[in-house]
């Protein structure tokens, strides 16, 4: 079984970092992993996305055409990718910045007030970590301590001060992801 996870947002929202973190945590949890960034003109123009495929055997396509999980950090990404999600997949999105008309996608929408939760944790910019936590809760097969270990090894010294905030964001998101019904 392979899972395709896409993360999409503006450049600077931590899209590639979130994907990398997910890839490292999945690797620690015994998965094989591919991580592929959008490196083309779209990244240079502002929007950015990243594809992570995880599975228990050798990964085929690193390119995802119907994500099982889609993490959305801005409205343009919803418009571009939400409709591609697998019928049994999930769209985890920051409901503080994305206000979609629901019922327009085939997958299951998981709204998370990620900016608000991130602000509560100490910095509203790290909404990406809340969505990542929500993914972990929903997915349920990557232990949070693997995510924490990966985060500690990946975070650059420049953002060392955000480590505790990031960890808190992952926890807050995890709760929402674990019990998605409570969040709607």
């Amino acid at each position: 079984m392979e899972y395709g996870i896409m993360i999409a947002g503006f450049g600077g929202q931590g899209v590639l970092f979130t994907g990398r973190l997910l890839a490292e945590a999945a690797l620690l949890s015994g998965y094989q992993v591919t991580w592929y960034p959008s490196y083309g003109p779209e990244q240079r123009g502002g929007t950015c996305n990243c594809s992570v495929v995880i599975g228990h055997g050798p990964i085929g396509s690193p390119v995802i055409d119907r994500p099982d999980y889609l993490l959305i950090l801005n409205r343009p990404s919803w418009e571009r990718f939400a409709h591609d999600v697998d019928a049994e997949g999930y769209v985890i999105y920051n409901s503080d910045v994305v206000k979609p008309s629901l019922g327009e996608i085939s997958g299951c929408p998981i709204p998370i007030p990620a900016s608000e939760l991130a602000a509560e944790a100490g910095d509203e910019r790290v909404a990406n970590m809340v969505l990542f936590g929500a993914f972990l809760g929903l997915f349920g097969q990557i232990p949070t301590d693997h995510a924490q270990r990966s985060l500690r090894s990946l975070i650059s010294p420049k953002y060392e001060n955000l480590l505790n905030i990031d960890l808190k964001c992952i926890d807050l998101g995890y709760g929402y992801g674990k019990n998605p019904k409570d969040s709607t």
């Binding site: 990398r20 690797l27 992993v33 991580w35 085929g60 396509s61 690193p62 390119v63």
Partner: protein, 353 residues
Amino acid sequence: MTESMGLMKGNEAMAEAALRAGCRAYFGYPITPQNEIPDYMARRLPKRGGIFLQAESEVAAINMVYGAGGAGVRVMTSSSSPGISLMQEGLSYIACAEIPCVIINMVRSGPGLGGILPAQGDYFQATKGGGHGDYKLLVLAPSTVQEAVDITYEAFDLADKYRNPVMILGDGLLGQMMESVRLPKPVGYLEEKPWATTGCGYGEPRVINSLYIEGPIMEERIRRIFRKYAQMEQDEVRWEEYLTEDAELLVAAYGSTARIAKTAVARARDKGMAIGLFRPISLYPFPYGKLRELAGRLKGILTVEMSMGQMVEDIKLGVEGACPVSFYGRAGGMIPTPGEILTQIEAMWSRLP
């Protein structure tokens, strides 16, 4: 013995594999999507006793490769499509002079300056002699980051063995993606090259040259390098088969496209279609023989490339008309999705008698 390195980008992993293969000279000029290779080399190569030099152009870089290779050093360059075009004259000289070297082409879209996204439009250039004259490059096309590491490591041995340039044909997808890798251990002692121009004072003069004015001498030179190509065609043909045993249709694809096709083939199998995958790994020498053998019991082959159709010509040559060959391609940096390829498979399957 190998060493697990966790996740690495394809470009970086290949650079590290080259260092471990004993590469001690790198010359190049920056271009996306392979910049992590010179970046990695610039940081690490000097520390390992080698030389990293950013040349003034790709033309200069390939001639520096010629020089360092002639001096017997394990040497490489890397670039992407337009840069590789600029290197073609030098590659022709190097092939004629029988200098071992390794070239990585992380293909982007063309023609022209094109774009920075992945493509496979340099197949003809790589496999059919992109420069002038009668010569071949040994061309290998990895499909995963691990395979890129293994091939890069081995490429230096192959280059030395045949005294011929070895090209590794990747693309932006392979270069930019990350996968977990195991790295081979660094090579130890490398044999001295009895032909290398290492300075005066060691007996008979050695000359490295690609100019042979006399017809008979030049013809013999060409025959000599073609004897090596005949040897490569015997010993270096490589391919991968996936679910081919009972397949009625095959998808043929190489490099990154092959692994996307693999997912499409797996989905087709889930739907009950007898589909397999044939992935050439050595693009020159091309696995014509194996393909001909498979084609005899097939009802068709779908070739998929990130180009308007280049390898498909070798597929047809190999198949020798034994079964129909069709083609699906995306170009310009557009990557075919597993779903798109599956649609093509289904269409071909439904037309079967």
